[in-house]
């Protein structure tokens, strides 16, 4: 992995530099919201990166990955509600419960293939979603407000936006590194081999089920951590966090950014959330010379542009943004 000056590497380097410098820029322009927004981008980037491990590399299309965001979030929320706000307790619980749930789901669903796998992961996610809806003590449908962010015995102050931002950024980099190391190891080669031809991998003596299950559990655990971060970030957790459309969003991020690419999911998260913020503005700005005041109303219909964009990505840019960048080198 030599750091050649390809367009793709330049973009990734610029992106990482921008992310690293964001709080400084926000402080100079006195716009703290940028930090809030990008903290969210980074957390979802972690979640998408974890999904990429199983979806991109392992070919396991989990349509219920947002459930771990919910489990991680509820671990923090419920413990906080019951008076345990130490992050040293909350975060390991979030990771552990997510991993255990992933173990259960994976053990049962990895026996199925294709669309059945998509649907069974969805079914388990819906089970937890409705479990959350029925959690009367913890706000049920309305969700739970988390009054106090996780406490780390004075080592870290998560209520400080900048500290929290950099913590998330460090965790993101660690996640990307971990996933990259994993997929380039023997373990990674097995799950990637099982994606393209499971039968052959088993024939040459690999117990692919165990490998794939391990990957599934790791992905769940990382996403559970992202859930704990997200709950701290919004100060709020509700079943909506694990609604099936949120799982759809995570898939969109991975595919939009580029499957089976280290930085793809992060790029996808940045792109999707930027589009959500920027598309209305773009429509307003570009339509106002022609349509005048009506442009403000037109901007409300930005999803009419976003939807077909997904279809176009699927049809013409299967490698996602990362694939396009890599393609630029070849000309």
């Amino acid at each position: 992995m030599t750091a050649a000056l390809t367009p793709r590497n330049v973009v990734i380097a610029v992106l990482m530099l921008l992310l690293a410098a964001m709080p400084v820029y926000a402080a100079v322009t006195a716009n703290t919201f940028l930090v809030t927004l990008f903290t969210r981008v980074i957390i979802l980037g972690i979640a998408a990166t974890s999904l990429n491990l199983i979806l991109g590399y392992g070919g396991m299309v989990s349509f219920g990955h947002a459930v771990y965001l919910g489990i991680g979030g509820y671990a923090v929320g419920i413990l906080a509600q019951e008076g345990t706000s130490s992050g040293f307790v909350q975060w390991p619980v979030a990771i552990l419960v997510s991993a255990l749930f992933a173990l259960l789901v994976g053990a049962l669903s990895l026996r199925t293939r294709g669309v059945y796998f998509i649907m069974i992961t969805l079914a388990f996610a819906q089970l937890v979603y409705y479990f959350g809806v029925g959690l009367d003590r913890y706000g049920a449908d309305d969700g739970l407000t988390i009054r106090r962010r996780s406490q780390f015995a004075g080592l870290l102050n998560l209520s400080d936006r900048t500290q929290f931002y950099y913590l998330c950024l460090v965790l993101l980099v660690l996640t990307i590194y971990l996933v990259a190391r994993l997929v380039n190891s023997r373990f990674g080669l097995v799950i990637q081999g099982a994606r393209s031809n499971d039968r052959r991998m088993r024939a040459i003596g690999f117990a692919t089920f165990r490998y794939r299950l391990t990957a599934f559990v790791i992905a769940g655990a990382i996403c559970g951590l992202a859930g704990a971060l997200l709950a701290n970030h919004t100060g709020f957790i509700s079943p909506a966090t694990m609604h099936w459309t949120r799982s759809g969003d995570l898939i969109v991020m991975v595919v939009l950014g580029g499957m089976a690419s280290s930085f793809g999911p992060l790029i996808g998260a940045v792109a999707l959330l930027s589009l959500e913020e920027a598309l209305p503005v773009l429509i307003r700005v570009s339509a106002s010379p022609v349509f005048g005041d009506a442009a403000v109303r037109m901007a409300e219909y930005w999803q009419i542009v976003l939807g077909p964009l997904f279809l176009l990505v699927v049809l013409f840019a299967r490698g996602g943004i990362d694939g396009l960048l890599a393609g630029m080198r070849r000309g």
């Binding site: 998509i118 069974i120 819906q126 409705y130 809806v133 939807g307 077909p308 997904f310 279809l311 699927v314």
Partner: protein, 305 residues
């Protein structure tokens, strides 16, 4: 006892409605191997068309017929313009592409019909309830839904099992190249099947419309249930979809009807009211998970694959 019969009828009616939606989905899924999340959007369009045409023609039945035709046309156009390009692609591509279509259709409907939603009123002869058993009054319209759906089920069975079109469809599903080589226009066949599926979704939407209001996003939650139905029933199986739909409809309704009273024995009244609907929803997904673990191909797998 009367309450139990009435709740079973409610469950049956909901199940049959699910069947209409699931039938189109399972046809498209089984034959073209296409996961179409935008099927719920066609359901929504059916309802919007019906509300619009019924207002124009001042007749519920006429409006419904026009709406059926319109959804058929939209479905076929959608297949030709976009979805055809997704055949043979990864399921993941289907999920993502049609997920995008949901966003598109929701916004399109908002643009055309506005955000407020519409209502479709019934003719007088369908409004008043009838006494189907001594002491048991049941809404006429819900009986109409049950009868219509049963007729459609019969029609589909005959169509797929007893006609030349059905034979071609079954042939195309099991071996596309071979059927094509025999001189059958597969593209046209697929477009027709997709249109049929769309019309079925539209029918479900427009029949639900007088009970619920017609609104944006109305197809999304019920779509997931329709997927559950076809997975439980076995992909591509009309018979499986029929049985699974009624099963899911009954579980959902009976659960909501009787779980609260059961739970009140152990929980506070308020707690039971919160937990019970969640539990009946969970039971459906639990059923699906169990079916998939035990029979990964569903209850009535189509053997031809």
């Amino acid at each position: 006892m009367l309450l139990f019969i009435e709740q079973c009828l409610n469950g049956l009616q909901f199940g049959l409605l699910l069947f209409l939606l699931a039938a189109g989905l399972t046809l498209v899924f089984g034959i073209m191997d296409l996961v179409n999340l935008a099927h719920g959007s066609l359901y929504m369009l059916g309802a919007y068309f019906a509300a619009t045409f019924a207002a124009w023609t001042d007749s519920f039945v006429l409006g419904a017929l026009l709406a059926l035709a319109a959804t058929l046309v939209v479905g076929m156009a959608l297949e030709v313009v976009a979805l055809r390009r997704l055949y043979g692609r990864d399921h993941l591509d289907h999920v993502l592409g049609t997920f995008g279509l949901i966003l598109f259709f929701n916004e399109l409907v908002r643009l055309v019909w506005g955000p407020a939603g519409m209502s479709l009123s019934l003719p007088m002869w369908l409004i008043s309830p009838v006494e189907i058993l001594p002491g048991l009054f049941y809404p006429t319209y819900r009986i109409a839904i049950i009868l219509t759906a049963l007729l459609v089920a019969l029609f589909l069975y005959v169509l797929v099992m007893r006609t030349r079109l059905g034979m071609l469809v079954r042939a195309g599903a099991s071996n596309r190249e071979m059927t094509g080589a025999l001189g059958v226009n597969i593209s046209l066949l697929y477009t027709l099947v997709f249109g049929l599926g769309a019309a079925l979704a539209g029918l479900a939407g427009l029949m639900q419309a007088p009970i619920l209001t017609v609104q944006i996003g109305m197809g999304e939650n019920i779509l997931i249930l329709a997927f559950v139905v076809i997975i439980i029933g076995g992909i591509g199986s009309i018979r499986g979809a029929f049985i699974a739909a009624i099963l899911v409809g009954l579980i959902d309704t009976i659960g909501r009807a009787f779980l609260p009273d059961l739970l009140r024995l152990v929980l506070s009244s308020r707690g039971a009211s919160t937990v019970a609907p969640a539990m009946s929803s969970m039971m459906i997904y639990l059923l699906m998970a169990i079916v998939l673990v035990l029979r990964p191909e569903g209850l009535f797998p189509v053997s031809s694959k």
